[in-house]
């Protein structure tokens, strides 16, 4: 249970971190909070030749408001920030609501937002939460070969980031640097629920939703994302689409929850069968949609 040897670099700015990662030629890995990577190293599941520690890259550790009423979260912002930062509570109440469910306090104090997103655990809360909020990720790498400039950046929707369990579209020389969350709009409400054996344990199933109601009470926009109900963090698109243009009555919400339950693709493990997880998707989706609807109604002008 001890990691194999590796070289260690601790750059203090993003450009140096990107260069170090590029210099590793696929054998280097970025170390963010380390709450998933270090256990893997302890188990010797994959041994990078070099660890590029991002913990001294202060420019990645921020939570900032955007002019559009949203938030920018730096990759190295700690997960506990979501729980304690008043700005997050106001601008992204879904994140504040779900934060206590993201692992345990001792993990959240160290674990980062970017680290969780890049790790791509289908049972993790953050990818699903940010997906349902319509967040965009920014990804950076050092210029390769003939490219001009020091740094190449690109934007990626959260949905495009996830290719499979623990598998993202990030290249070996890329770092996910930040995510931007749009502001909560008029008539918009969000909610989250999860079932876990103990608070902080991996979700058996979790659901996050966002709904927007017009002044006429019709559903103008909806998103539903499921945690640990498929090989990747995923949106239940058909279930959300079933609500569009409808009055979100209990019957319409129950119908959407039924679609989410039928279309998700959970796996069985010691904590629950496929049938049990589908049941949970239905029950939890129904519950959080009702709660989000209530919150949306309070925000209709």
């Amino acid at each position: 249970m001890k990691p194999a040897r590796f070289d260690y670099v601790a750059p203090t700015n993003l450009d140096d971190a990107l260069s170090a990662l590029a210099a590793g030629g696929g054998e280097a890995r970025a170390l963010a909070g380390g709450q998933s990577l270090v256990p893997m190293l302890n188990f010797r599941l994959g041994g990078p030749a070099t660890l590029v520690d991002l913990n001294a890259v202060d420019e990645l550790a921020f939570v900032e408001p955007t002019e559009e009423g949203g938030l920018r979260l730096g990759a190295m912002a700690r997960q506990q920030t979501l729980e304690h930062d008043p700005l997050v509570r106001i601008r992204a109440p879904l994140l504040a609501e779900a934060a206590p469910w993201i692992a345990h306090a001792q993990i959240r104090s160290r674990g980062t937002i970017g680290g969780s997103l890049a790790h791509a655990d289908p049972a993790a809360e953050l990818p699903a939460l940010l997906m349902v909020l319509g967040a965009q990720a920014r990804v950076a790498r050092a210029a390769r070969g003939s490219e001009s400039g020091a740094r190449i950046e690109r934007a990626s929707s959260l949905c495009d980031l996830y290719l499979g369990p623990f598998f993202t579209s990030l290249e070996a020389d890329e770092i996910l640097t930040e995510v931007e969350i749009p502001g909560l709009r008029v008539g918009e409400g969000t909610a989250f629920a999860e079932l876990a054996r103990r608070r902080g344990d991996y979700a058996i199933v979790g659901v996050a939703v966002r709904v927007r109601l017009g002044a006429d009470g019709l559903c103008e926009d909806a998103a539903i994302s499921l945690i640990n109900a498929g090989p990747t963090p995923c949106l239940a698109e058909d279930a959300a689409a079933a609500l569009l243009g409808e009055v979100p009555t209990p019957a319409a919400i129950a119908n959407a929850a039924e679609i989410a339950s039928l279309q998700c693709s959970p796996a069985a493990d010691m904590h629950g069968s496929v049938a049990y997880r589908r049941h949970l998707v239905r029950v939890l989706t129904n519950r959080v949609l009702l709660r989000a609807r209530g919150r949306a109604r309070e925000r209709v002008v």
């Binding site: 990691p3 590796f6 709450q35 302890n42 206590p100 104090s109 160290r110 902080g200």
Partner: protein, 167 residues
């Protein structure tokens, strides 16, 4: 793979030296510094026994490398009570430790140091917690003896004792 020089403060004392990058913080504290109050259970961040405080926040010492404490401050269970050694009296213990003693909040004691460090941070943020909040706060710790009931009572008692100290 060469050793890296670090400068850190552990339980208030400055420490300077070189460590191998792959050395876990938990092994550094126990092996290099002899601070064996930090216990090593699962070594993959599940059991909570190795919890220490990093710049005031509880962290798993088995999920950090010793090189990462460069420029930072660590507090272990040895730093809780200023008095130590064989002639230690109950009255000299930290109020959280006294509360665990009073309420039988431990049996074998293996998980206790980690819980104490978590509770120290928790009660700073939340000095008057409910039972539910206490249960959530200690959810990252495994205890195979107590059934947790007396640990919850101990944390509640610790909150009382700490409030008395401040009053």
């Amino acid at each position: 793979m060469s050793d890296v020089s670090i400068r850190t403060r552990i339980n208030g004392e400055e420490w300077t030296g070189a460590v191998e990058p792959r050395l876990l913080l938990s092994d550094f504290l126990r092996g290099n510094l002899g601070l064996t109050g930090t216990h090593v259970g699962c070594e993959h961040g599940v059991c909570g026994a190795c919890t220490v405080r990093f710049d005031g926040d509880p962290v798993r010492a088995c999920l950090m490398f010793a090189v990462q404490i460069d420029g930072h401050e660590i507090e272990t269970v040895e730093g809780l009570s200023p008095a130590a050694g064989t002639d230690l009296r109950i009255a000299d213990l930290h109020p959280i430790q006294r509360a665990f003693h009073e309420t039988h909040g431990l049996q074998c004691g293996f998980c206790t140091p980690g819980i104490l460090m978590t509770v120290a941070s928790f009660l700073e943020r939340n000095p008057k917690p409910s039972d539910r909040e206490i249960r959530e706060a200690i959810s990252g710790h495994l205890c195979r003896c107590t059934g947790y009931h007396n640990i919850v009572a101990a944390v509640a008692r610790a909150a009382e004792l700490l409030t008395e100290v401040e009053a």
